[in-house]
């Protein structure tokens, strides 16, 4: 079995890692709200938010290369949604091109919206990356539970975290077993085999779900998962939250 990680840098010992996960969730959620409600023309405010998140990353000792790589994964999705806006938004025209009868124009308003979406999305993604990479996923889930996040979601996430690698492993083994017996065959044949494999994987997952449920019942499960957390709010957790909130407020007031 391959050791796959979702939270591979969560074992670093840093100021950010030692914070109570609940405090991190609240503070970074506040960060996102502040970013979202900033006017697109407040360029200084965005720069300051960027500095703030960069300082937090420095404190967390997470390698910058990793952060960059993780954050860039999301950008294409944002672009896919936002890239056409400058062409369709009406307003003062910034430039245009003609392809025969087809005329494309880009407006200043449209560009502003594009910039707005990109910068906000990127800052929010950075704050989420900080939250996820500096917290063990199991602790993150417990913190969500403690913050009264609907327990169905927490349970689903928790089972996903536990079993995604198991299912992935099963698929990999099936693929290897198939390849070990593959000596040619048409492309269409392989597509059919793949469809069968997906079916088998579904059946196995279903049966595993049944067995896991039996195992849960055997140990007294009665419809509600209860957990014990070792969380303890300390002075420094409150200080962190207060500092972040004040910085955000200051940026909000003086940055725009």
């Amino acid at each position: 079995m391959k050791h796959a990680y979702i939270d591979e840098y969560s074992d670093i010992d840093s100021y950010i890692h030692r914070l109570d996960p609940r405090i991190k969730i609240i503070s970074l959620f506040a960060f996102i709200l502040f970013v979202i409600f900033t006017r697109p023309t407040s360029f200084i405010a965005f720069a300051l938010y960027g500095v703030l998140i960069a300082v937090l990353f420095l404190l967390s000792k997470i390698p910058p290369g990793f952060i960059l790589k993780r954050s860039l994964v999301i950008i294409p999705f944002v672009l896919m949604v936002a890239i056409f806006i400058p062409f369709f938004k009406k307003g003062e025209i910034a430039g245009g091109y003609s392809f025969g009868t087809l005329k494309l124009t880009v407006t200043y308003d449209g560009l502003m919206i594009l910039w707005n979406i990109l910068v906000k999305a990127y800052l929010c993604i950075l704050s989420m990356i900080l939250l996820i990479t500096s917290t063990k996923l199991s602790n993150l889930l417990k913190a969500l539970e403690k913050l009264k996040f609907p327990s169905v979601f927490v349970i689903i996430l928790s089972f996903m975290y536990r079993y995604i690698f198991v299912v992935q492993d099963e698929l990999m083994k099936m693929k290897q077993a198939k390849e070990a017996r593959t000596t040619g065959g048409s492309r269409w044949f392989h597509v059919k085999v793949l469809a069968n494999m997906i079916g088998v994987l579904f059946m196995r997952t279903y049966e595993r779900g049944e067995n896991v449920y039996f195992a849960m019942c055997s140990r007294g499960f009665n419809g509600k998962i209860k957990i014990i957390t070792g969380f303890e709010l300390k002075m420094k957790d409150f200080c962190f939250m207060l500092i972040i909130m004040s910085i955000l407020t200051v940026i909000r007031i003086f940055g725009s």
Partner: protein, 243 residues
């Protein structure tokens, strides 16, 4: 005479699709006894195990008692804290994100106070020598470690009966040896479902041989495991340690 820990009478069970899995099983297990349930693949051994804490209920006249409790809806919670069932696949047994959460799952459901839960988790992990892994995610454990933690997940509930499904399957010789040593130190009533007959010889005093859903022989371990023709008719082999 010691008390009966488990009493099974006229147990019949068919799967929802109609396949008959167990047929007229009668078996008594006494307190403190180690009993091995052996039989070929698909004989119904694991299905029998799932009856011991009421996950499956027999049909019709089936009757199972755990100590002085009948298995019924009212007693279910109580029975499940008395019978610790360890499944064969540790990935099914360990379903919580970390080792601690998993071992604590049972005690929390038994409504123990927080420090009581922590103490029983520690005791259970100590017994299987896994305390150092308490904060690790279950999916990062090796197979042998998963098997040990699986046993800890029920030991933490302080059961009176331990029911193990194929405890030695897929273990390397060293871990298998450790498991046997561990089982030999146990003071609980223990039921082991397996076709690892060497393990049975070293741990169980009594054996029940199941084939096609019926108990075909039951008795002293050595009497049954030395009976070459009986074993071979039911697709088993005499343990290597007898040669």
């Amino acid at each position: 005479m010691t008390e009966k820990a488990i009493e099974i009478k006229n147990l019949d069970y068919s799967y929802p699709d109609g396949t008959e899995a167990l047929c007229n099983i009668n078996l008594d297990v006494f307190e403190g006894e180690f009993i091995g349930i052996i039989g070929p693949n698909g004989a119904g051994k694991s299905t029998l195990l799932l009856h011991l804490n009421g996950i499956f209920r027999g049909n019709g006249n089936s009757h199972i008692r755990i100590f002085d409790l009948d298995i019924n809806d009212k007693n279910l919670a109580h029975i499940r804290s008395k019978v610790g069932l360890v499944f064969q696949d540790p990935d099914n047994q360990l379903f919580m994100p970390t080792v601690f959460d998993d071992v604590a799952f049972g005690p929390i459901n038994m409504s123990l106070p927080k420090d009581g839960v922590e103490a029983s988790v520690n005791d259970a992990l100590e017994e299987v020598d896994m305390v150092s892994s308490i904060r690790r995610p279950s999916h990062h454990l090796s197979f042998g470690e998963k098997k040990r933690v699986s046993i800890a997940t029920v030991l933490s509930m302080k059961p009176q009966i331990l029911a193990l499904d194929e405890p030695s399957s897929n273990l390397d010789p060293k871990h298998r040896r450790n498991l046997i040593n561990f089982l030999q130190t146990l003071k609980l009533t223990t039921i082991i479902v397996t076709h690892d007959l060497d393990l049975v010889v070293q741990t169980c005093s009594r054996v029940a041989l199941i084939d096609k859903g019926k108990i075909v022989a039951a008795g002293n371990t050595l009497d049954i495991l030395r009976n070459k023709s009986l074993l071979e008719t039911h697709d088993l082999e005499m343990p290597n340690s007898f040669f």
